[in-house]
Symmetry: C2
Subunit: 408 residues, 2 copies
């Protein structure tokens, strides 16, 4: 059987070139109490109803799952990392094999990030100036140089539906001069990315400015004055407190153009999504739901539950008795506990399936409530019952993770 006979099917939308899509986003419904809204994101590989969550398909796969399963859960768009794919298998390899959609057999929309975040969090940074960034691979230590132009070319070759401009990220700091410098370079690179963008992808700009409201305001002014298809808030959840994160999201999101999509980068826990939607966020991405799943932390309406806990050893019911995912429909918490205790690979799949399905169902509830005008009540109710992970634990985990430079 040859490759052209493989199951991969072209989407109803066909290639963007043929369609000459113009409109990318429209707001369908707004919440009377909060900034929450329902929107439609039009891409060459399908229309996504927002708010939407993008699971991490960093290396061209949502870890542990097949594209068929990801689609079956109800995930409508995946996020891949240009940095990871550049290092392995290489951008040209994917291009030769027909682009990222065909390579990973996912015919839904894909967003690729520019690699900025990974270069700063995973790679060994060697040198950075207005031209670009020299870094060493976290895999083999080899040296690489990326520029705004190269990063746009890479993303065009991958063929994602939505691509991101290159930004400079820094870990949380209260040194305003450092943050201002990285913000200004992000602005310079944003202009260059737009200039070099020739493909049919929708290109988004990224607002930086750390935890400084005045810098965030300046950054929105610059980025929103450029002709991007969408606007992302970057540089958050990098070590600051949750209160500070939301203060900045609140102030920044309020300034973004209302008729464009708003994307909060790198955040996507259940509580993040509910809170972010209320502040006007349309798109979320995070490796958290899938990463914590592999650690045995499963979402429920009451908060995360650790399936490794001895209490589950003989629990005959599903881990989340309200859930309709394959895992909860099929297996007892006791069995899932056993798989985790034995480090069976099936454990990580079943937990990932559950957490992603939990997020999809949460987004469905959010959308239903926005439609019915009851999102304000829903938000309060959800956050009252959902016990978030302790902030100290959270920040420790994050810093540990950033330090270990693990692959997400």
């Amino acid at each position: 059987m040859h490759l052209h006979q493989r199951q991969y099917s072209h989407t109803q939308f066909g290639r963007r070139q043929e369609l000459k899509l113009k409109e990318h986003f429209r707001v369908i419904k707004t919440c009377p109490e909060t900034r929450a809204r329902i929107g439609e994101l039009i891409t060459p590989h399908g229309i996504i109803t927002t708010p939407a969550f993008m699971p991490a398909a960093s290396q061209g796969t949502v870890k542990t799952l097949t594209p068929q399963e990801v689609q079956g859960i109800g995930i409508s768009i995946a996020l891949s990392n240009t940095y990871h794919l550049y290092l392995r298998p290489g951008i040209e390899t994917i291009q030769k094999l027909g682009g990222l959609h065909r390579y990973m057999a996912w015919d839904g929309p894909i967003l690729t990030d520019s690699g900025g975040y990974q270069i700063f969090s995973l790679a060994a940074l060697r040198q950075i100036d207005d031209e670009g960034v020299l870094f060493r691979s976290h895999i083999d230590g080899s040296e690489h140089f990326l520029t705004p132009k190269i990063v746009i070319e890479f993303q065009e070759k991958l063929g994602a539906d939505i691509i991101m401009s290159l930004d400079e990220c820094v870990a949380y700091t209260d040194d305003v001069s450092i943050v201002r410098r990285t913000m200004e370079r992000t602005h310079l690179w944003a202009e260059r990315c737009l200039r070099y963008h020739k493909g049919n992808q929708f290109l988004y700009g990224i607002v930086q400015g750390g935890v400084f409201p005045e810098l965030r305001r300046q950054s929105v002014n610059v980025i929103a004055s450029l002709n991007f298809s969408g606007y992302a808030i970057g540089g958050l959840s990098v070590g600051e407190t949750k209160e500070l994160t939301w203060e900045i999201v609140n102030e920044t999101a309020a300034l973004l153009p209302k008729n464009q999509p708003h994307y909060l980068m790198g955040m996507g826990s259940p509580e993040d999504i509910v809170t972010g939607v209320a502040l006007g966020i349309d798109l979320f991405d995070s490796a958290l739901p899938t990463r914590v799943a592999r650690n045995g932390a499963l979402f429920t309406k009451a908060g995360r539950r650790n399936i490794r806990n001895a209490a589950y050893k003989t629990k005959d019911a599903a881990i989340d008795t309200e859930c309709d995912c394959y895992t909860c429909r099929t297996f007892s918490a006791a069995y899932l506990h056993h798989l985790f205790k034995c480090e069976e690979l099936l454990a990580y799949r079943l937990a990932t399936l559950h957490n992603l399905r939990f997020i999809v169902r949460l987004l469905q509830e959010i959308k239903d409530n926005i439609r019915q005008g009851t999102f304000g009540v829903f938000q309060k109710d959800f956050l009252t019952h959902y016990q978030p992970t302790d902030q100290e634990i959270r920040i420790n985990q994050k810093q540990k993770w950033l330090k270990s430079k693990e692959n997400t």
Copy 2:
């Protein structure tokens, strides 16, 4: 949602107690040239057409796969290890949760082994006498004592369809006195297992005798004189050469009662299955197809292919262009290569799916050829084209594996 609402469905056969099954096996068709035959194995959870292969579900899961997938591939019976399940989660835990079928959500037939092989290959053996065996767990070093009676009780509590008597295994040796002693103890235990067997499972006896034809003959005489539902050849593929293995299988299988199922324990590579069927084997089990899959070795009609090989980096076709499995229908060899290079968990699933589907399709071809009277030609043709793994590599791998006492 409560457990009784989970997807697990009772088989058409219902509980064995209700059916009072008597017949367990019937031969449907024999090959005019070889000892190959098609049979039907009747169990409380369904009828299996033999020759059949049982993938290892050692800890209550075919590694990386859901029961839904295992069934979808066409696997009709799974093998679980009493030793593993006894140590984790514990026999009583599974019994309380409704038995092994319900615990692992597999409603097809299950065979459990007695734990004999694992005690000798994985655990630290402390002491063995006619009463039973004292050993230390390979997980935590805790001490345990198993007897023929206990092992039968355990398997009855697990509720498998086919259970095995306790045998004593030794690694390959040319010391006939050692082999005779272990064989005689195996015979003693076989009688005890039969005596203590109260449940409705089909209990099989195990023939031992190492690589000594005379001992094998004695062992068949003793074991076949007892009232077992099936007969297994144990104690092979434990370090001897492949030639010696087949010489012993050939001589032993010829002596087994013709109207009973013949089970060759611990062997199940493609070439083993084709050769074993020709010698009159009906049932195979092995962790090999799933274990080598996780190492990146994929079956094709020409032999195993290592997907990590650089030649696959840009190969646009499926790894096995003749295969109809999900992996081959959906992904290029290049993508699978990438997943293995990145150690993505999806890699191990996709490779496992392929190897098991390869075995199922091979068994289908074998059965078709037996039905058509062409199995002799098929066997020669298959073994001419299939390049087996080099014997030296194979024995080294096996000894390394036995030494490392890894979990299979």
